[in-house]
């Protein structure tokens, strides 16, 4: 200012327009590129895995079901309520080509993963940023009030559209007659619709709580609810499925009718939900949730200062959430039990297959399939619980704890105990919900304890999962994420294995594959005892490693 000549006498400067009027979205473009840059590894991994899963499934379906007779037989098996509950609506069966088989069997499953991906993208770029305080730094720059949320949604949308194109391309490239281009495109974009819908849900949940974990948890609960709604709806008259974005995606009937409009329904839902998220975000402070922070206790209870009591406190929220979710899921499946027999009575072939299994009833066969799903959901919680020590270590909170009279062994074992007991409790809750609802639906009271017992048989598989997590924590602390392979692999093998006629040894690699499939099969103690012993061995192995390694600190 000093050296330049100002021609006119200094007039008072014209008041500038307030920055907020410029744009609430200022900086969104930069943030989108920044977000894509940050996720440059993560997103391709998601996209490529999901695309490969779809493409390889189509390939194996095409190999396995290359005759019309084979496909007709598959359609008959796939029409049982148990199969419908874990796959998709019956309408696909009217034209059961390889493509529609893929869409029927696979879409519901990949939709869950796409939803998970989208929720994690949105929370990572919004609430997680606020929680760490990085958002504050960004928001102090020329960044509009809504720019961060808009950018996160845009990154999620871009990932979903990219995924849609990749899946469509990979399916179309396989050409296989029925898997035509139109079907491939509808199939791909059905995923995008689900993903964008759940990204919008996450945009709302990140406003409500101050924590990324809580926000993700809430959004994942919505995904779980959406899945449960479509499962119940598809087995029943289909009404409930229309309340679920996953249901909408499946009602595109890709490779059968190739309808686009259910995808528009997803987009409209996403727009409506985001329209709630943006105003909500202006009703709170940066870094805060909509719910105000409450005052807490001035001092700790006796139980909290015991290692196990403290671990329980850290796991409590997650346990309650999963417990509620599993109870709802169990009750939903249980309420189907009354109809299973009637619906399957007409399916002669299915009945014969079951008889070959060991002369069990149709209801029991259905129940044992549901049990696997419930157990794997419980395994997710157990894996999270077992990874808690690692989370505490990475966050720098373990340091202060382990500098007290608490030994490393006791610290980890407290989490292991709470995780193992919590997982078992979850199985019991799910089994009781399933059994009680089943008892009401069928009038057979013995189902309550029978199904609760069947659920508990999965406890050793959960403990094994937990053991894997502890072993990784002790030996490969940076690779603890590998533990997710256990539930994901078990689900994939248990869920798709029968349809794709996986060789038996693939199923044997899954700890859940060794659990006797009660109530359809007989109880066998040997595999359960072996799994329990292996779990104990893995925990011991992990602890021995942890005792010897450095605590990782920032």
């Amino acid at each position: 200012m000093s050296s330049t000549t100002v021609p006119a006498p200094a007039a008072p400067p014209a008041p500038r327009r307030p920055a907020t009027r410029v744009s609430a979205l200022a900086g969104a473009g930069v943030l989108i590129r920044f977000g894509l840059r940050r996720d440059r590894i993560r997103l391709p991994v998601w996209l490529i895995s999901l695309t490969l899963a779809s493409a390889l499934t189509l390939r194996s379906l095409a190999d396995l079901y290359d005759t019309a007779e084979g496909r007709a037989s598959a359609a008959r098996t796939a029409g049982s309520p148990a199969a419908i509950a874990t796959s998709g609506p019956r309408h696909y069966l009217s034209d059961y080509t390889v493509g529609s088989m893929l869409s029927h069997q696979m879409l519901g499953f990949t939709a869950l993963l796409v939803g998970l991906m989208s929720v994690l993208i949105v929370t990572r770029h919004t609430r997680a940023e606020e929680e760490t305080g990085r958002a504050e730094l960004l928001r102090s720059a020329v960044v509009g009030r809504h720019a961060q949320l808009a950018a996160a949604l845009a990154v999620a949308a871009a990932a979903n559209v990219g995924l849609a194109l990749l899946i469509a391309g990979s399916l179309a490239a396989q050409g296989a007659g029925s898997a035509g281009l139109a079907g491939a495109l509808v199939y791909g974009f059905a995923h995008a619709g689900v993903g964008i819908a759940f990204a919008a849900v996450a945009a709302v949940t990140v406003q409500t709580t101050a924590h990324a974990r809580g926000a993700s948890g809430m959004a994942l609960a919505v995904i779980g609810l959406a899945y449960a709604l479509r499962a119940t709806g598809d087995v029943g008259d289909g009404t409930l499925s229309w309340l679920s974005p996953i249901g909408w995606a499946q009602r595109t009937y890709a490779f059968v009718d190739n309808r686009w409009w259910p995808i528009l329904l997803s987009l409209a839902f996403a727009a409506a939900v985001s329209a709630v998220a943006f105003p909500l975000s202006t009703r709170r402070d940066v870094g805060a949730g909509l719910r105000p922070a409450r005052q807490g206790r001035r001092s700790a209870s006796w139980a909290l200062t015991r290692p196990a009591g403290f671990a329980l406190r850290l796991h409590r929220g997650m346990l309650l959430g999963f417990g509620a979710g599993l109870l709802v899921l169990g009750v939903m499946y249980g309420s189907l039990l009354g109809d299973v027999e009637d619906l399957l009575g007409s399916l002669e072939e299915y009945r014969r297959t079951l008889e070959a299994l060991g002369g069990t009833t149709v209801t029991e066969a259905f129940a044992s399939m549901v049990m696997l799903v419930l157990a794997i959901v419980a395994a997710v919680q157990v894996a999270m619980a077992a990874l808690r020590p690692r989370a505490e270590e990475s966050a720098g909170r373990a340091e202060a704890l382990l500098a007290t009279g608490l030994s490393r062994d006791r610290w980890v074992l407290a989490h292991v105990t709470v995780g193992a007991a919590g997982g078992t409790l979850l199985l019991l809750v799910a089994g009781l919900g399933f059994g009680a609802a089943g008892a009401v639906a069928t009038g057979d009271g013995s189902l309550v304890w029978k199904l609760a017992g069947a659920a508990l048989a999965y406890a050793p598989a959960l403990w094994f999962t937990l053991g894997c997590a502890v072993a990784l924590f002790g030996r490969l602390p940076r690779q603890t994420g590998l533990v997710w392979l256990v539930p994901v692999y078990s689900f994939a093998v248990g869920y798709l294995g029968q349809l794709l006629r996986f060789p038996h040894w693939l199923n044997n690699l899954s700890p859940f594959g060794h659990v006797p499939r009660l109530p359809a099969a007989e109880l066998e103690w040997t595999p359960l005892l072996v799994l329990t012993a292996l779990a104990a061995g893995l925990v011991w192995f992990g602890l021995a490693g942890f005792r010897r390694r450095d605590l990782e600190t920032s």
Binding site: A293, S299, R397, T553
Partner: protein, 358 residues
């Protein structure tokens, strides 16, 4: 005096980074020991080795008569630790976190805990996520000091505390010392160390560069003397131990080795002393003596030297814009007249400080 901590030749690498490279540290029982060094010098790593959280690659470490790695848990019952970066559980209140940490250590003096909460003006009912950095720090300090640990390991404990709380902290540590506890205080707040510590160890790049009492260290370095005399001073150049004398009319300014202070003052007396200020080297000067070349590498050479050459009162703080520049002798930086003076001052200061290490 028995030793509470005895570390010799400690080595630790993280991948390619060498965090500790033959570090020595001896802390006597009942003393408050200052542990000084810039960020990344290895202070926190040393403390984590002492806590058995990290295992040393080489060298030996003994603490309270035990092995920090093997006897970790037993030792932890006798010590309390305040990390430099306190992380709390988001859904536990500060009060709960204090109780948790203190009871896991083996005990809690409830009366002391409440008194400390009061003195540090901490609201124990807030959840961990709601605390600022300073308040998280207070939670850890209260948890550590509410115990009756015989050894306190404090790793830059007051980062984020306001000056008022800093004073409270100093009182509390002084009390701990009076109660006979041993304290290892890692810090780069020099005023704090000067006030609290009996002995200090200065470390850099994983090695101990100097260790001893502050008085002893000062003895090895130079005292700054400024005086006004009745007659202009002459002949200072020839005196042993006198460095960079500068005479400006009736004013004189020089630094002198601790062992030659007496002779220099006698010589000065002959010219009729009207006013005299002298100050021992500040901790800044002691530190800068070891880190002078690093500062030079970062382009802060002139500023640091200027500060040291001119500072009449010493103490903490005081950058190039501090008090000294306002004095008659010091012209504002950047104006032509100031340049020669600054050059001289720089030269004078280089003797005891940067020059020694170069």
């Amino acid at each position: 005096m028995t030793t509470a901590i005895d570390v010799t030749g400690l080595r630790k690498s993280f991948g390619r980074t060498r965090a500790l490279d033959g570090l020595d540290l001896t802390v006597g029982t009942g003393e408050v020991h200052g542990f000084l060094g810039p960020n990344g010098a290895g202070k926190s790593t040393t403390i984590r080795v002492l806590l058995g959280l990290v295992r040393a690659d080489g060298g030996s470490a003994r603490m309270l008569g035990g092995d920090p790695w093997k006897d970790a848990v037993a030792l932890h019952r006798r010590l309390a630790y305040v990390p430099g970066d306190v992380e709390l559980w988001p859904n536990l209140t500060g009060g709960e976190a204090i109780d948790l940490l203190a009871r896991l250590r083996g005990g809690l003096d409830r009366r002391r805990r409440d008194e400390l909460v009061e003195r540090f003006d901490l609201d124990p009912t807030k959840k961990g996520r709601a605390y600022s950095k300073g308040n998280r720090q207070k939670v850890a300090i209260v948890a550590a000091l509410a115990s009756d640990a015989e050894l306190l390991l404090l790793d830059e404990p007051t980062a984020g505390l306001d000056p008022l709380m800093e004073v409270v902290f100093q009182d509390v540590v002084t009390q701990a010392k009076e109660a006979g506890r041993t304290v290892l205080l890692s810090s780069h707040i020099l005023a704090q160390v000067e006030k609290l510590c009996d002995r200090v160890s200065i470390i850099r790049q994983g090695r101990t560069v100097q260790s001893g009492t502050l008085a002893g260290m000062r003895h090895l370095t130079r005292t700054t003397v400024e005086a006004r005399t009745a007659r202009p001073v002459t002949g200072l150049d020839g005196l042993p131990g006198v460095h960079g004398p500068r005479v400006d009319g009736d004013r004189v300014h020089f630094t002198v080795d601790g062992t030659h202070l007496d002779g220099a003052l006698r010589a000065l007396g002959a010219f009729g002393i009207r006013a005299l200020t002298s100050h021992p080297p500040t901790l800044e000067e002691l530190m800068l003596r070891h880190y002078g070349d690093e500062l030079a590498a970062h382009g802060h050479h002139a500023a640091a030297d200027d500060d040291m050459g001119d500072g009449p009162t010493g103490g903490a703080g005081g950058g190039p814009d501090g008090g000294p520049d306002g004095e008659p002798g010091g012209a504002p930086a950047g104006e032509p007249g100031g340049a020669p003076r600054e050059a001289t001052a720089g030269g004078a200061a280089q003797g005891p400080t940067g020059g020694a290490t170069r």
